[in-house]
Amino acid sequence: MSQISLSLRRRSAGVDRRFFAGETTAAAALFLILAAVPPIIAGYPTYILPQYMLFGVLAMSLSLLWGFAGIVSFGQAAFFSVGAYAMGLMMHQDYGFNPAYAGILIAIPAATLLAAVTGYFLFSAGARATYFVLVTLALSISAEQVAVSQSGITGGWNGLFVDRMELTFGPLGAVSLTDDARMFYFVLVIVICVYLLMRRLTTGKFGKVLVGIRENENRLTALGYDVAFYKTLAFALSGGVAGLAGALYATHANFVSPSLGGVLFSTQAVVWVAIGGRGSLLGALAGGIVVSSLTNYLSAVIPDYWQLALGFIFIVVIVFFKRGLAGLLESAFEALRHWRTAR
């Protein structure tokens, strides 16, 4: 046993992990299970799961920043709500072409731009990570308050009602997504694409540099890297991904309210990622889906006690299980591997 823990300790925390193949299998398993939901458990789960999947995407956007670059953001919800309101507003317009496409085409750049500008402004001055958390908090608070105060545009606390989008393929016709199963698969496909894209990014040079930033920013600077640039890029990307998630959420849930951008939602994302595993995209995705589903289910039954329990779980994770559930599973597999080869 001591041999196993020694080699567990001596495993690198870098990006090229031996569990690459393992993560692919786990991802495939997760997506297959999700794909099986509509035919097998039609009804409420088919309706609600896309929202949790989109929360999972929001969680992934945070893990890019937190797990890889080591930068915590308490403001991802701000970008989510920018995307949501962009979609909501576009869906109320009539320009002649598919308003949902317009919504997505505006949501992503808008959220990305907000993140890029904020990031550049802070990182180019070498803002410390703890100060950055504060600014992202302020961002979330402001996002919520702007949504409330500009009630002429956003509907304030009354919110914005949004139709289900349709997929239009020009002359080839259109597919309405009012049907829950169709919407489910559409969201699932997007989630898979985003996951694959982010995985590609994080296993290449970009991901390695972000890990370098997390491990020793000064060393990286002294090797000639423009650290501020990479941080800004990571933040901008995370904003864009969160914005996309928000845009799709708006047209799925049919309703956008200011609390989508607020601090409470931002920090829920932090809790999901902490529990799921901040260093693993799949862990964050799964963490987002699972914890938010559990929260929804248990909120109907024991709302306050569940949130309390979640708070304690969060503490336990931060103190003892920094790498979250994904890390636990990895350690378990590693132990299993060694036990097998040692026999």
């Binding site: 690198s12 990006v15 090229d16 390695k208 002294a222 090797l223 000639g224």
Partner: protein, 238 residues
């Protein structure tokens, strides 16, 4: 004969303390130079001003005949100035391989070429066996070598080494001296070393610059400097 690195009147004040006082310094391409001096002489401060980590209060610096006084750390690193810090500064939870890979990644993309360069650098510092070990679990001497490997892999041409043999055994120290001499000879690298270990400095067969109270006390071949009365006083006196 133009110098690779030249400083003129390099001075650094810290709130009333004069750490470096008008240092004129020059280094030729392919030269190894040791900088010695008692604690507080201003050696690390001097190195920090060359690497760009500290802006000088006054004075100028040229690298390859280009004035770099106002260049940032990043810019200096990109033109070939690499620094090994007094405390080994590594990517602690990453393996030796991944550490060096980061040094290569900025300038080399194709994975095959990258791998070759990383392995070459690790081989040069005799760390090929420890390539998968996280930096934090390497022995102290190996960590120093790893940091040197980072500089080699990043194509640094001027290496600034701050106490590379601190914490090393006698054998490791001798090996390090041999490594540095080889790097200067075979690759024409220019190396400035801050050191305290007299045997190591002797093995280096390089000129020595002695700093005292922020100024250059004397400079010359090791034997001359070692015999210099003023140098003895500075080390043994106060």
């Amino acid at each position: 004969m133009s110098a690779l690195l030249r400083t003129e009147g390099l001075t650094k004040h810290f709130r009333g303390l004069v750490a470096n006082d008008g240092i004129d310094f020059s280094l030729r391409s392919g030269e190894v130079r040791s900088i010695i001096g008692p604690n507080g002489a201003g050696k690390t401060t001097f190195l920090s001003m060359i690497s760009g980590h500290l802006p000088p209060t006054s004075g100028r610096i040229w690298y390859r005949d280009r004035e770099i006084t106002s260049f940032s750390v990043v810019r200096r690193a990109r033109i070939g100035i690499g620094r090994k810090f007094q405390t080994p500064t590594l990517f602690e939870s990453l393996s030796a391989y991944e550490n060096v890979e980061l040094a290569v990644l900025r300038t080399e993309s194709p994975p095959a070429k990258r791998e070759a360069r990383v392995n070459a650098a690790l081989g040069t510092v005799r760390l090929a066996e420890g390539r998968d070990t996280p930096a934090q679990f390497l022995a102290h001497g190996q960590r120093q070598w790893l940091e040197i490997a980072l500089l080699l892999a990043s194509n640094a041409e001027l290496l600034l080494l701050d106490e590379p043999t601190a914490g090393m055994t006698v054998e490791e120290t001798a090996a390090t001296a041999e490594l540095i001499n080889r790097l200067a000879r075979e690759r024409n690298l220019s190396i400035i070393i801050i050191e305290h270990d007299i045997n190591f400095i002797r093995d280096l067969a390089a000129r020595v610059t002695v700093l005292h109270l922020g100024r250059v006390l004397t400079e010359g071949p090791f034997e001359e400097v070692a015999a210099d009365q003023r140098v003895r006083e500075v080390y043994l006196g106060s």
